[in-house]
């Protein structure tokens, strides 16, 4: 099978979409299983297709949200007090969304945390100056619970940020993604707990952090 035929018959995209007839699919697989160029094209086509679909779904959801908001405003015109409350919340949701969106424009910063290295001495971390995701890859025994809870706690024990229902990436780690805006300079602790079926949680790791403001 040569590449001009693959391009001419659009085999890459037809394969990704699952519309190739069985014999043609088998023939193409036999070719690309040993062809790095085609493998790369397939992976890019797959990822692009997924991204376009996700982007369209997001746009549709935004549009649905807009119409829902318009309808809600019309109803809330009857009850003015309630509407002002609603608009306030909507405004705050929008500003949160704006911060989140701007944090997505930049690649995340990732820190690995290990129980043997980072559980006794505070790990020094610089908070990114511009909004972006800060991801902590915490090495723990992640086989004991199906869901985990992560919280960032201040020096006086006050909870600054929390996320429930985190699933393990692998038997020995979980990833905790925190928007940098939720972090502040000072000594904080990332507390990881295992969620029990009765709703309570048991602390499985504490990682002290010394956060400095980024320039």
């Amino acid at each position: 099978m040569d590449h001009s035929r693959i391009e001419e018959h659009n085999l890459i995209d037809r394969y990704v979409r699952g519309t190739l007839p069985t014999d043609e699919r088998a023939e193409f697989e036999e070719h690309f299983v040993d062809c790095a160029a085609c493998q790369e094209q397939i992976e890019v086509a797959k990822s692009l297709r997924l991204a376009v679909r996700e982007s369209a779904a997001e746009t549709r959801a935004d549009s649905r949200w807009r119409w829902t908001a318009i309808a809600a405003c019309a109803c809330l015109g009857i009850a003015l007090a309630a509407s002002s409350m609603f608009l306030f919340e909507r405004q705050s949701a929008r500003s949160e969304l704006a911060i989140l969106r701007s944090s997505l424009e930049r690649p995340p910063v990732v820190f690995g945390l290990s129980l043997s290295r980072d559980a006794s001495e505070p790990r020094v971390i610089t908070i990114p100056a511009e909004p972006r995701w800060t991801v902590f890859l915490a090495e723990i025994d992640a086989t004991r619970y199906s869901r985990y809870r992560a919280a960032v706690v201040g020096s006086r024990g006050e909870e600054i940020w929390r996320k429930e229902g985190i699933e393990a990436n692998s038997p020995d780690s979980i990833s905790v993604a925190i928007p940098s805006g939720a972090l502040r300079p000072g000594t904080l602790t990332l507390v990881v707990s295992g969620a029990q079926p009765n709703g309570s949680s048991i602390t499985v790791a504490r990682f002290p952090l010394r956060l400095a403001a980024g320039k």
Binding site: D13, Y15, E29, A51, S55
Partner: protein, 192 residues
């Protein structure tokens, strides 16, 4: 230059001769392709990893035992095993589903995407927004939407929008190349 078929036959004979490095070569050579074939049908990453492991275990077992009838078509042999194991996986899953049907207290995995999935999704969204903004016209964006979202056939899109298949191929291939380039440049930023 070595012809693909003869290099495949050579690999088979090296494995049959007991050369361990040749087994590593086989896995390296077909690893990514086999992952794609399995991933095309098996969505669950853990199940896909199992099928992948089993594919290479079986391939090596059969090559060592001299069960490859056409060594020069080793690629086809590897694909065949991967495909039959994918089918076997679905049969097994269907049997399990039947066996456990009606059991109310089974723990089902959460359909919620993990945080890493969410990050990857957000990253893809940024990439595709950039690719779409770089397309020359609304018509080109329409091509991409109809092809990737509505799963319209190339011929229908070309007929409806009055464009040649050459233009269609150009838009799709350019979008793919830009997507890849931006993705790679984001990877570079991450490395720094």
């Amino acid at each position: 230059m070595e012809v693909a078929g003869s290099s495949e036959a050579n690999l088979v004979s090296r494995i049959r001769a007991g050369e361990r490095a040749a087994e590593d070569d086989l896995i390296r050579r077909f690893s990514r392709g086999v992952s794609i074939i399995i991933g095309q049908s098996v969505a669950d990453p853990a199940a896909a990893a199992d099928v992948y492991q089993e594919t290479f275990r079986l391939v090596l077992l059969k090559v060592r035992a001299g069960e490859v009838r056409e060594p020069e078509r080793l690629a086809g042999f590897v694909c065949g095993i991967a495909r039959s194991l994918v089918v076997e996986h679905f049969r097994r899953t269907a049997r399990l589903r039947e066996r456990h049907a009606g059991e109310p207290d089974r723990q089902l995995p959460s359909p919620e995407p993990s945080q890493l999935d969410q990050l990857l999704r957000q990253e893809r969204a940024i990439l595709v927004r950039r690719v779409l903004s770089e397309l020359a016209s609304d018509r080109d964006r329409k091509i991409l939407y109809r092809f990737y979202i509505e799963d319209d056939e190339k011929e229908n899109i070309c007929a409806d929008l009055g464009i040649s298949t050459l233009h269609f191929n150009h838009v799709i291939s350019r979008a793919r190349q830009r997507y890849k380039k931006i993705y790679e440049s984001m990877g570079e930023v991450r490395k720094k």
